[in-house]
Amino acid sequence: MMFGRLLWKLLRSNRGRLAVALVAVISGSAVVSALLTVQLDISRKLTQEFRLLGPNIVISAKNSGQNMKLEGGHLALRPAEDQTNASGASLAAMAPFFYTVARVSGTPVIVSGTWLDQLPRLNPTWRIQGDWIADHDGNGHSLIGRKVAQQFGAVPGSDLELETGERHAVLRISGVIDSGTAEDNQIFADLPTAWRLANDPNAVTLIQLNVTGSSAAIGAYAGHLEASMPDFNVHPVRAVTDAEGNLLNRTRLLIVSMILLIMALTALCVLATMTALATERRADVGLMKALGGTITRIVGLFLAELGVLGAVGGVIGCFGGVALAEWIGRRVFGAAIAPRWEIFPLTIALMVVVAMAGALPLQALGKVKPAVILRGE
């Protein structure tokens, strides 16, 4: 009771100086909680960013240059879907590809037979003029690359006639794709049309997968998949998964370094405030000692004061951190980062620890001689 009363009076009597330390703790807490929130969310955000880069796992035949056979249609790819549970990864998109060459007005063009509805999910950065196709086989519709469209003057809604010797097909163009890559030179048709043009039913050159999850989860997924599909080669696209892992590690290191730096700066600010307060409180400490107060009991009061400072600053700062994390999310990732309430106790505990650094100058109070203080020296 009296302890609380004394604590309240201590806080009130030095509110000017303590306000400076409180602002430092609030600021530190806001930045630390925001960074911790970003840290916890960074894996998901980076995964989302890297999934924009396109497929990150490719399945091909054991013998290079040979096609696989997609016997049983979609069922043959069931392992790819089943393995997501085991690895913690998530299959965002998957499509088999069969490449052949056909002629348009006598000019050879690569025809890529695939599940047409999967293209925008496999390649989120591709732009389209016209419409994407909503089902695997497209019902006679196709997509063509930008350069092919320019070459043959094709536009969405127009028809394109493909031929390979005696076989030919007429495709209605649904959209023109701008990929910024070699795919701009291709025609994307449904698989049965490509098989018919090549006279090679059920042939598949490769299967592309866009898998979400951490680089470790994707690696595990690829491993499980390879074990369950022994007749195929499963290649994680290392450039993407490794870059993701490296960036994630570096970002985490940067965030942890910044958190430590912010904590050190906050502690310094509290330390400076408490150094000044310790000097001012020498007379009070001398008197309290004269009245029978032990240094443990007296310093306990000041430590409680620091604890309150850290806890109050930590709580207020955490709410500021929610707003800051949301702002960082929008500015850096283009999407808000959801508050992570579990970091509140951690941040508050860190701020209490930081505030306790201000107790260092209080050590000097242990040496205060009441007789000297009471003489007015």
Binding site: S13, G293, T294, I295, L374
Partner: protein
């Protein structure tokens, strides 16, 4: 009544300066002693040693059977809380605590606090209407009366008053001395440092110090 305070061959040196040089005397329980002497004669040093605020270089200072020189930091704190009530010339109140809280502060370091007892103590020194005032809102005399209430609150064995009226005007001096007289009449043991002979005469016995030595001892005529 037996001796509450027994001082024997007490010495205190600060570097080359000898503040106390073989002082010996006893104080009986319930006695009021005035320590007098010029500045630098060792009065305050003697009071500080008796109050456990300082330790002697050699000699013995027994207060209620406790040898102050043998106590460690924790023991001295306990000794001050339980056996001594201080009244200082500069009042020494905590500026951000009310009169009531200043009195309760002594209770807090002694054992448990009782607001009603603290109010009673302030009422006794005539400050019933000033309990919620901060020291800065009180006159010098009122502040000293808060200090007296604080000194009394734990029923100490010994009240040590170092120039208790040194900073007071005549009217407040009378009030504080009247309070000390009442405490003495109730049986409290008081050792008071003063420069003023007129105040020294109020005590049962007057001890004069000079250059850290006991120069003279006078028993009041009325005693």
């Amino acid at each position: 009544m037996g001796a509450l305070v027994q001082i024997e061959n007490l010495r205190k040196e600060f570097g080359n300066v000898r503040a106390l040089d073989g002082v010996s005397f006893d104080v009986q329980a319930g006695e009021w002693i005035a320590i007098m002497g010029p500045s630098g004669s060792g009065k305050t040093t003697l009071i500080n040693i008796l109050g456990g605020l300082d330790t002697p270089t050699s000699g013995q200072a027994l207060v209620d059977g406790v040898d102050v020189a043998r106590l460690d930091e924790g023991g001295l704190a306990r000794f001050r809380a339980e056996k001594i009530g201080f009244v200082f010339q500069q009042f020494h109140l905590v500026r951000y605590l009310t009169a009531l809280e200043n009195v309760m502060l002594a209770q807090y370091f002694h054992s448990t606090t009782s607001e009603s007892e603290a109010r009673e103590a302030l009422t006794r020194v005539g400050l019933a209407d000033r309990v919620t005032h901060l020291p800065g809102q009180l006159s010098g005399g009122e502040q000293q009366r808060v200090a007296v209430a604080r000194a009394l609150i734990n029923s100490p064995k010994l009240i040590l008053a170092d120039e208790p009226t040194g900073n007071l005007d005549e009217a407040n001096e009378k009030i504080v001395l009247k309070l000390l007289q009442e405490l003495h009449d109730e049986g409290h043991t008081i050792i008071m440092v003063t420069h003023a002979p007129s105040i020294g005469e109020l005590a049962d016995r007057r001890i004069d110090l000079a250059h850290g030595r006991l120069a003279a001892e006078h028993v009041a005529r009325r005693a």
